[in-house]
Amino acid sequence: MDWTAIALSVRLATIVALILLVLGLPIAYWLTFSKWRGKFLVEGVVALPLVLPPTVLGLYVLMAIGSQSPIGRAWTAWTGHGLAFTFEGLVLASILYSLPFAVQPFASAFSQVDTTLLDASATLGASRWRTFQRIVLPLSVEGIVTGLVLSFAHTLGEFGVVLMVGGNLPGITRTVSISIYDQVQAFQYGAAHKTALLLLAFSFAVLASVYAILRKPWAVPALS
């Protein structure tokens, strides 16, 4: 069993999910409440990773962070090494790749908050920020947890983008999906199966426990 790859994948997915939480909430807020007419353009960009082949996304990310690009050069000047084929590069690519899986559940949760509550909050003297913290966020918890879990799970299982951007460096960019691919290529079906089964069980456990938390099957049904 390739424990290094498993640990790397979990670390990557955790970091990406947390960054997407911080990044996705303001984006989702803006997408929900902005009255700008050109909003659909941004919505289109955010949803792009849903339809693009991972290889296309990976290729462009690779070009954007390569040593010839401004981003790559700036990164090298700052850290002393390049971005491509590093863990940091992988994080960046995964953030883009999983963006819609965080933003869309966030935005859909925000849009379901009754706007009268927001009006009431304003008439009670609360700033937009206070309204967001005290009203919008607590009433969107389910959507936020869903977005967090989906972006985690989606990053955990990604393959194409990782291969394009990260390559296959043990302990640095060899994630669990790539490890399984390697094992299959080397006809080590037993080892591949073990890793795959672990990933399957882990993914299921995470998803099921989140949905359990959201559904509260142990709670007494509320009287309407």
């Binding site: 009754d114 009268t116 009006d119 009431a120 909050s121 304003a122 008439t123 009670l124 003297g125 009433l139």
Partner: protein, 363 residues
Amino acid sequence: MSARLTASIRKRLSDHFTLDVALDEAQGITIVFGASGSGKSTLLRCLSGLLTPESGEVRVGATTLFDSGRAINLSPQHRNMGYVFQQLALFPHMSVERNMAYGVPHLTPPERQKRIASTAERFGIAHLLARKPGAISGGERQRVALARALVSDPHLLLLDEPLSGLDHTTQSRIIDDLRAWNAAHDIPILYVTHSHREVFALGERVVVLENGRVLAKGTPQEVMDAPAHETLAQLAGFENFFTGVVTGRRPDLGVMQCRLNGTTTELEIPLADIEVGAPVRVAIRAGDILLANQEPRGLSARNVLPGTLVFTVQEGPTVVARIDAGIFFTVHLTPGAMETLHLRPQCPVWLVVKTHSCRLVAL
């Protein structure tokens, strides 16, 4: 301190609807009355700053909340008003106490506690403070919404049909509590409603809106009992409208006669400055017409019309009867009266209408 609400507002919502209203209201309850779509809620939203008018001014006492000429437009957060929404908009994830505390974060905890306790006491919800809005009754929720809007001691209170959907007893209890609060905190209150019953129960003053404009204003008696227009009469609960022709005038008795169009039925109506031969429009409340199952004699009422009962329907505590007296009348009576009179469809009946129950409205 006398802090009047003075406002003039122009807000265009669509090609067909522009709110164009001027108000000058003292402390106490002013009813804003109108059908749905007349602009009542839009008016409140403009006053609260949730909507920005194209032009106008809003002032409470010496404080200017909005002035298009001077480019002043305080945000809703800074207008120091209470607003109760028709949907109440209680925060479902907070207890009653936290809902009430929401508008007063600037107070010290002991001061806040004191304010919430006394307001909750006044509105009879002190025992509900720990509960969430989903776990209390409709009437209690309405009390909480009122109390929440008042904790911050606002200078203006805007109520958008705050008691709709409640039974009459609960409504009047809450109104009594609101009046008691208003006696201690002398601020202008705008109370929006489309129920003419609430207008009489509540207001010293009523402003009637129609299609974004003020149709009439005054005391409920002035505005609702002697409606100048048919739309107003409909709003005020008049059910019967007839067009007729003046056939005779008796200035000495303060009355005149008219014949209802398409019939030979003559009605005696209050005298007005209308010539013989000219058309008139008469409105009569269904509740102002008496019904008899034999021809009544020795009455002071001048209009006794024979007819036939067509049908009856029970609507809540009222029986609505349709009577054909050459022209159709709607009459309200109680189920008890219905029984005593042994009324059945096709029965002969007599309608009794006092002269002054016939209101002239503009054609």
